[in-house]
């Protein structure tokens, strides 16, 4: 069956998805939550009663993480379908 699968392209595209998601992952946690925190506290509108950078570190980044994983699911499932890796239950 693997004749129909192009595993090289599949792998390259999964790497792209992973790199894209991890860039956002690093940006929201290390970037917004730690490195640029003071700048964001001062320059960005606060989230409710919390300064933006502080909020990113305590809640915002976690919310983005959850969203990232649901996006990951969608993108990978789409990629699986495109390359014919979506037959039920055959590992």
């Amino acid at each position: 069956m693997s004749d129909t699968h192009d595993s090289k392209t599949y792998w390259k595209q999964s790497l792209k998805i992973i790199a894209f998601l991890l860039m956002i992952w690093a940006f929201v946690s290390f970037g917004c939550g730690i490195i640029f925190r003071e700048y964001l506290d001062a320059e960005m509108p606060s989230v409710g009663g919390a300064p933006f950078g502080f909020w990113m570190a305590q809640q915002g980044s976690i919310i983005v993480f959850v969203l990232l994983l649901f996006v990951y699911n969608r993108l990978m499932n789409k990629l699986d379908r495109k390359h014919g890796y979506d037959q039920e239950g055959s590992l």
């Binding site: 069956m1 693997s2 004749d3 699968h5 192009d6 595993s7 090289k8 599949y10 792998w11 999964s14 998805i17 992973i18 998601l21 991890l22 992952w25 946690s29 290390f30 939550g33 730690i34 490195i35 925190r37 003071e38 506290d41 606060s46 989230v47 409710g48 009663g49 919390a50 300064p51 502080f54 909020w55 570190a57 305590q58 809640q59 980044s61 976690i62 919310i63 993480f65 959850v66 990232l68 994983l69 649901f70 990951y72 699911n73 990978m76 499932n77 699986d80 390359h83 890796y85 979506d86 037959q87 239950g89 055959s90 590992l91």
Partner: protein, 604 residues
């Protein structure tokens, strides 16, 4: 009904449920014992993993830690959730496709050597043992506080319960009890938070109350809760709640070590071997993070509420009219007050501890506490010069929350059941990895490859009994200071050994056994050496890698991140200088990169 009756009812019911599930799901084969027959639904596995991941420490201590450190507490919030992103996109789908039982299985096969397998087994056992000790201790503490029994008896009762379902049911028994435990935990954590949020901010959703307005002084005086808290902290001489950290680079390293460490913890990775296929793994991992996030988004709210409440209700209050929970926890040794200025009021200031060390209460010849002029318990500690008169154990913030909010007794019982569920679920997951490491990785794969399935299963049960005895022993006789310090070991090790080696094993075909073994040994050696040196030998805190002006350098908590970079570099350079891995290993790597089928190269 009294509080004791409620406690008995709640904890009794949860235990009956756990044991009932255990008896229903006894494992008959190693396949069922190690990976629950690979038939768990993604949603159930998500809940089970969330319960497995959230330990007694997360449940009881994290909110207290955030309350007392403010922004600096974010390292746990980001570290322990961000790790799941790494785990999901870099590790678990590929290891699931590999179709084996354990993490050492993968490393042993990918690096075609029993030496790699052996290093991995030793790391896995070490990580899990350091972790499980704290859990058993936690179970013992909660029991002893609830039922007035000794900690030792509490640890033994807890061990028996865990043994029931972990050794009989294996992964299958653990998974379904963990689902039940997650449900207990999430209610126990959020219900008190909801009540308190309504009291302080008028918002039913505590996660939003955190960023809402503080309305207890009346609606016309509403100010943002965090602003209020900053004001209170400033007034009393504490650092700003939303303020910065001393050394950003150290903070960065600690957060990174927690993240990469989380992604390399073996007891979390193996949980994802229990679902049907790669697609289910991805789904399950997303559910896991969503379930964890419910509690982790509540934690900063609980922390800020608890701190506001504590200051508002306690500071400058007459001791005689202090709320009941205050004296209640004082009677349980977790709160102490010394009236330095003799005004009968409790003063809470940020100018250092009220006295040296933990409270040591004055007792009369019958063992009863001696009381002072306001009926407070007297202390024998050396009194510090500052104005601060209050000592409290951070851990009480979560446990005292329902009492502070004057919630009904059943809520308090629920919180207690939640604490026990958190400790038991994590202990069971760790126990499984320990027993699998011995029966499968050591015996079956290295020492006695001719074991049949029945014998292997028997060995797994014997090993889990052995591991439990060791864990219970350390729970009863904790190497006191040691336990707190070894948490840094567990994450540091996972971060500097498993994470980089697994990632390299999946994402490069060129890394060979020489590179992987050298990388693991250098990473672990460096991390362990650094932690041991600074935790046990050096009497100073002039940490290395101090890049910032007025910085502190990288503390042992964060050194795993540097260890990981060393592992990556050593593994890469050694592999480049030695021959590439054999063709069949390269084919294997090709095949785990795709979710189904054998992959292009091994299509023979």
């Amino acid at each position: 009904m009294t509080q004791d009756t409620w406690n008995f009812i709640f904890i009794g019911i949860t235990f009956v449920v756990y044991i009932f599930i255990a008896i229903r799901s006894r494992a008959a084969s190693t396949q069922e014992f190690y990976v629950a027959g690979r038939g768990v639904s993604p949603l159930a596995n998500g809940m089970a993993t969330a319960a497995d991941w959230m330990s007694a420490a997360t449940f009881i201590s994290m909110a207290g830690l955030i309350a007392s450190t403010g922004y600096a507490g974010s390292r746990f919030l980001m570290g322990w959730t961000g790790g799941f992103v790494l785990l999901t996109v870099l590790i678990v789908p590929y290891l699931r496709k590999f179709k084996k039982f354990t993490v050492p299985d993968f490393l042993g096969d990918r690096f075609y050597s029993n030496a790699a397998r052996f290093v991995a087994v030793v790391c896995a056992i070490f990580i899990c043992l350091t972790y499980i000790m704290g859990q058993m201790r936690g179970v013992g503490l909660v029991f002893s506080r609830l039922f007035d029994i000794s900690i030792s008896l509490g640890v033994i009762i807890g061990s028996c319960i865990v043994f029931c379902y972990a050794a009989l049911g294996g992964m299958k028994g653990i998974t379904y009890t963990q689902v039940a435990q997650y449900c207990v935990m999430v209610f126990a954590y959020t219900i008190p938070a909801i009540f308190i949020s309504v009291m302080l901010t008028g918002n039913v959703i505590p996660q939003l109350g955190f960023i809402g307005d503080y309305i207890k002084d009346g609606a016309e005086n509403a100010v943002p809760l965090l602003e209020k808290l900053n004001g209170l902290n400033k007034e009393l001489g504490f650092a700003q709640y939303t303020g910065g950290v001393k050394d950003k680079w150290d903070f960065f390293c600690i957060t990174a070590a927690l993240m990469f460490g989380t992604a390399g913890l073996p007891h979390v990775i193996v949980r994802f071997f229990t679902v049907k296929d790669v697609k289910a793994v991805r789904q399950s991992a997303s559910w896991t993070l969503a379930f964890i996030a419910i509690i982790y988004l509540t934690a900063p709210a609980v922390g800020s509420f608890a701190r506001t409440n504590l200051i508002e209700e306690i500071h400058n209050q007459e001791y005689k009219s202090a709320p009941a929970w205050f004296t209640g926890w004082e009677n349980r040794d977790l709160i102490a007050w010394v009236d330095k200025n003799d005004d009968g009021k409790i003063q809470y200031f940020g100018d250092g501890a009220a006295f040296a060390g933990k409270p040591a209460f004055k007792l009369d010849s019958d063992g009863e506490s001696l009381r002072g002029s306001y009926n407070e318990r007297l202390l024998t500690n050396d009194i510090s010069p500052g104005r601060n008169e209050l000592f409290y154990e951070r851990d009480i913030l979560v446990m005292a929350n329902p009492e502070i909010a004057e919630l009904p007794e059943w809520v308090i019982a629920l919180v207690m059941a939640g604490c026990i569920a958190a400790a038991l679920s994590t202990a069971a997951g760790l126990l499984l990895v320990l027993s699998t490491s011995v029966s499968h990785d050591l015996l079956k794969c290295i020492v006695k490859p001719d074991l049949n399935d029945k014998q292997e299963l028997m060995w797994a049960r014997i090993a889990s009994f052995g591991a439990l005895v060791v864990a219970a022993y350390f729970g009863i006789n904790p190497p006191a200071e040691f336990v707190a310090k070894t948490v840094a070991f567990a994450f540091g090790l996972a971060c500097s050994s498993f994470f980089p080696t697994i990632v390299l094993g999946i994402f490069t075909k060129r890394i060979n056994k020489e590179g992987a073994i050298a990388g693991m040994i250098c990473g672990i050696g460096f991390t362990l050496g650094y932690i041991i040196y600074f935790q046990f030998y050096a009497n100073h805190q002039d940490y290395w890698f101090n890049f910032l002006e007025n910085g502190t350098g990288v503390s042992p908590e964060g050194i795993g991140f540097i260890g990981m970079l060393i592992n990556f570099m050593v593994a890469y350079f050694v592999s480049m200088l030695t021959p590439p891995p054999p063709q069949d290993v390269q084919d294997m790597v090709e095949s785990i990169r795709v979710p189904q089928g054998a992959g292009a190269a091994s299509d023979h």
